[in-house]
């Protein structure tokens, strides 16, 4: 009997003595606010269901009366005889005591013709319809996104295996057919859309749609004289030629080494020269730098 008690009045934001009009108004407003087709918050679907349940009970004078009287236990009478047939129903109600205050004939009517659960605010439900589409976030590292693969997600206690193709992009939607909310009245389920979110990468920074930036550490003499230096690309190490006389901030473009483009091909990788001075110099290096400094100042003064 440890049923969680939900205060339906509080849920709809109406006082306990609210009339039917006030309850309907409150329900309609909240239904518009939390309808999962209109509200993309992850808890909107649950809220919408709760509101529907509250309205189902409070809009029905019989159920409301039972709810007011029994609180959390208002449903017990219903659950005692699931799918009871006629005879069983009569027998149990007739001799089993039951709830003395219950209006017996109306309850029977409701059992025969079904409750209003799942029905709209203005009438009975009208047959099956496909369930809501859902959306979930799938966070991937840049490497995983480039490589493609499979992830196991747990949504609403269900494990879902999601395959994602190589080259998925930030913000891209992947559709998993039939993995959304269950359909109503045996309608088909909705779809699940996974929205790809690329995690920030320690080395690569996105630039525009398909390009990436990466820092390229270069020693001062390499920057001055020119050199071929190793560079990290998303698909592995490569070499890049640094032209003589490159200053920090110079962009060296590696064509086709960026992110895959949606229409085929790939963007570019921009290696940005970052002149890096060794923290500690050897004796010999210090000498050479001093000579360099001398010759530079001579040239400046001469």
């Amino acid at each position: 009997m440890a049923l969680a008690y939900t205060d339906y009045y509080e849920l709809l934001g109406v006082p306990r003595d609210a009339d039917q009009d006030a309850i309907r108004r409150a329900y309609r407003k909240l239904a518009r606010q939390y309808h999962p087709d209109l509200n993309s918050d992850s808890d909107a679907e649950d809220r919408f269901k709760e509101i529907g349940e509250a309205y189902e009970v409070l809009s029905d004078p019989e159920k409301r009366e039972r709810y007011d009287r029994l609180g959390a236990r208002w449903r017990e009478q219903e659950q005692e005889t699931p799918q009871a047939d006629f005879e069983e129903f009569f027998t149990r109600q007739g001799f089993g005591g039951g709830d003395a205050g219950m209006d017996f004939s109306d309850d029977l009517f409701e059992r025969l013709f079904g409750g209003r659960f799942g029905a709209g605010p203005d009438g009975p439900s009208r047959g099956p319809v496909r369930g809501f589409d859902r959306e979930a976030l799938l966070e991937l590292s840049l490497e995983d996104a480039l490589e493609g693969g499979r992830r196991r997600l747990t949504l609403d206690g269900r494990d879902i295996d999601a395959n994602f193709p190589a080259g998925v992009r930030d913000g891209q939607l992947i559709r998993l057919a039939g993995q959304g909310a269950p359909g109503r009245e045996s309608g088909p389920p909705g779809d699940l859309y996974l929205r790809i979110a690329l995690k920030p990468h320690p080395n690569f920074r996105p630039r525009g749609e398909d390009d990436l930036d990466v820092d390229l550490p270069v020693a001062p003499w390499q920057a001055a004289l020119g050199a071929t230096v190793p560079v990290q690309t998303p698909t592995g190490p490569a070499q890049v030629r640094v032209p003589a006389g490159s200053s920090s901030g110079r962009r060296l473009r590696l064509r086709g080494r960026g992110l895959p483009k949606s229409g085929g091909g790939s963007g570019d990788l921009h290696a940005i020269v970052k002149i890096t001075v060794p923290k500690q110099l050897s004796e010999r290096e210090r000498e050479l730098y001093e000579q360099l400094a001398e010759s530079a100042s001579e040239e400046a003064n001469g």
């Binding site: 605010p121 319809v129 496909r130």
Partner: protein, 86 residues
Amino acid sequence: MNSEEPVELIVVARRAGVRIALVRRYLEFGLFEAHSERADAPRYDPGSAARVAQAERLRRDLGLNFAGAVLVCELLDRIRELEARQ
């Protein structure tokens, strides 16, 4: 994103989980349109099923009429477009 071939109206109805008469009603209200102009065998975008289901849920849950449900779907499209531009 949806690379599937266009489908018949009955397929739209089945995927939306509703009767074909209801799908025709939404077609009359312009919720979606035929893919090709071939009048003898019209085909529809497979995404129409999700659209019909959405309109129908909105119509039932919020007490809208057909025109209202179609209008809300169109406004939702507009909102999505505007959000995507940001």
